[in-house]
């Protein structure tokens, strides 16, 4: 397995080893990957928001749910509070493990996961109550697409949280080694921020 037939420069060997151990400082590789992935997700939601605003701009007459349907702003407000709270609990978990407190990490991750599931359950209940569907005019289409794909991302986040929780229960994280926790928390904050955008757009801006 001898590579490189050229004469080795004295420093070559050391440099090669440094390269193989990814010996670089700065943000951990996994976090760079997660940030880039989130950037692509921002563009994805950007596309969906564009469809929303396009529909709203080209609609003549009143913008909102079709006749017979309504929006439950109170429930949506409660769900917003749940998701925002879950961002805080997630961050408490991250701070805990940065101090090396694995016990607190388990607790906060468990709470975050529960809040995430509560949000999803609330969203499904909301859907069942609204009185209009995805096929009911362009408002129905953009409403369910935007909230539905956000919900799918929350679901993805709960899968990530479940993995983090399982690994935390096995004692796999420490103050020095917990990049998965950091990555999942970054994703979770992102999903939360998207929801604030969705909520403000659909319920507040109208």
């Amino acid at each position: 397995m001898t590579a490189g037939t050229m004469q080795a420069h004295p420093a070559g060997e050391e440099e090669a080893r440094a390269a193989i151990t990814h010996g670089q400082s700065g943000m951990p590789t996994v976090m760079v990957g997660m940030l880039l992935f989130i950037a692509s997700e921002v563009m994805f939601f950007g596309g969906l928001f564009a469809t929303y605003f396009n529909a709203r701009a080209t609609t003549v007459g009143e913008w909102g749910p079709p006749a017979g349907g309504h929006l439950d702003i109170a429930l949506a407000g409660v769900l917003t509070a749940v998701l925002v709270a879950s961002s805080f609990t997630m961050q408490f978990g991250v701070w805990a493990i940065r101090r090396g407190d694995a016990g607190k990490l388990k607790m906060w991750t468990g709470i975050t996961l529960a809040l995430g599931i509560l949000f999803l359950a609330g969203q499904l209940y909301d859907y069942s109550e609204l009185g209009f569907g995805i096929g009911d005019g362009v408002f129905g289409t953009v409403f369910y697409t935007l909230t539905g794909f956000h919900g799918a991302h929350v679901f993805g986040g709960t899968v990530g949280l479940t993995i983090v929780l399982a690994r935390a229960l096995r004692g796999q994280f420490s103050a020095r080694n917990h990049v998965a926790v950091e990555a999942v928390s970054m994703y979770w904050h992102f999903v939360d921020v998207v929801w604030i955008g969705v909520f403000s757009t659909i319920y507040l801006l109208r």
């Binding site: 001898t2 070559g12 090669a16 990957g33």
Partner: protein, 561 residues
Amino acid sequence: MATTTLEPRTAGYRRAWVLDWLTTVDHKKIGILYIVNSFLFFFAAGILALVVRSELAVPGMQFLDQDTYNQAFTMHGTIMLFLFIIPVLSGFGNYIVPLQLGAPDMAFPRINALSFWLLPLGGLLIFSGYLFGGAAAEGWTSYAPLSNRAEGVGTDLWIIGLALVGTASILGAVNFITTIFKMRAPGMTLFRMPIFVWTILVTATLILLATPVLTAGLIALFIDRNYGGSFFDPSVGGNPILWQHIFWFFGHPEVYIVILPGMGVVSEVLPVFSRKPLFGYKAFVFATIAIGLLSFSVWAHHMFTTGGALFLPFFSFMTALIGIPTGVKMFNWLGTLYRGKLVFSSAMLFALGFISMFLIGGISGVMLASPPIDFHVQDTYFVVAHLHYVFFGGSVFAVFAATYYWFPKMFGRKLNEPLGKIHFWIHFIGFNLAFFPMHELGLLGMPRRIADYADRPDWVILNFMSTVGAFMIAVSVIPFLINVIATFINGEPAGDDPWEGNTLEWATTSPPPPYNFDRLPPIHSERPLFFLTHGHGHAAERPDDLEEGAEEDAEHRKGVV
């Protein structure tokens, strides 16, 4: 240990070999998988092109009906772009980028394998429409209201397949960018990276930011088609033009996703075979970044004729602006050739083919950027000519340049040069015969995407020429395939550095060992290998200047040795 008999071992070895390729996470094997898979799709889409050209050889309907014709050009365009040209360039990127950076692998090897395996899956889904009552037939652009109303499951399979292929490219883009930022060898600063790596970096950024928008559009289209949605249906408040905005917001960056890595390949090949450094390295880098940025602000030049408040002057002006960084690159290349010691290898011929053909495509592109011209030739064969000069004359020529150039590194053997030149010349002449007449056809008013056309003498002769050219292109692939097979059987051993290359991939064995490098040369410029083989004395004396010319190089050489 040596007492094992041969036979059971060979059987074991064979199985392991297949499993090894199926489960590999080595960027070099994944790169080769990408390239092989892409060439298979290239041949499939090429056969569809021959079907299209045969139908158009003479007026009248020959052997297709209208609907199968529509399917043929739709599948041709879709597969060529999404399953050949983008993935084949990612394949070269996969193989070469870690080597050029002096890295042992990509940043996320398993995600790398996943992004590859999504491709054949997506591609087969797109093709599988043929098994279920007909493939998608709305063109590669799939405009609403044609696409949201089209009957049949072929269009749905097209949507799902493209969403998978798009996801594959996004994951690949995350991987490339992370690799470039986190895996560079010590000494490999950003401005010492080979140009090919720079173009992959900008390309990956475009993929990362543009492709998700297409995914959003595809989902909207799927919802319209299957769940009673009305994104694109004006009768219930939707807007069919919205599809065009979404599609081209992705689609214009996409054309740079296709051409930038090709420019990168050419910028590797030209200096090596001119025996000079690239003229104006930094200018090239900034021009690449500028093209990347501008490409997000020109999408509506595909929509000039839709009318409405589309800010024609803005999009026309921005499009013309792209001509500037592109022109800069032309000068980079010409300046590199100027007074170089040119070596006309097959790789070099394809690189020179790229420059000349891309120039023609660029000129027709600037013409199309002008709304008064575009209004006349939109949706005619002029556009088909333009797009093939940039996609085929540009990127596909670059793919062949890359193949001749890097094949020795990948397999340790050089492709046969005389056969390579035969391939080039048949290809080059066939290409121009197939596509140059289309300019004229477009100006004469022949619409694209039609299966039959008026029996006018001028149209007939031009169409016939074009069909002959298409078959010449197909014939040119024969010497290429013979070459590849013959080289595997009995090719000339390449050695580590057959071309006297500049960049790190030539500093290791051909093919490289699993972790690429046992030792790395010192990196003090964008041409570490050149300085290693041509000697500049001790590292400390090595000039950091990136722009030095050939004479200067020679002087240094004399001075130090």
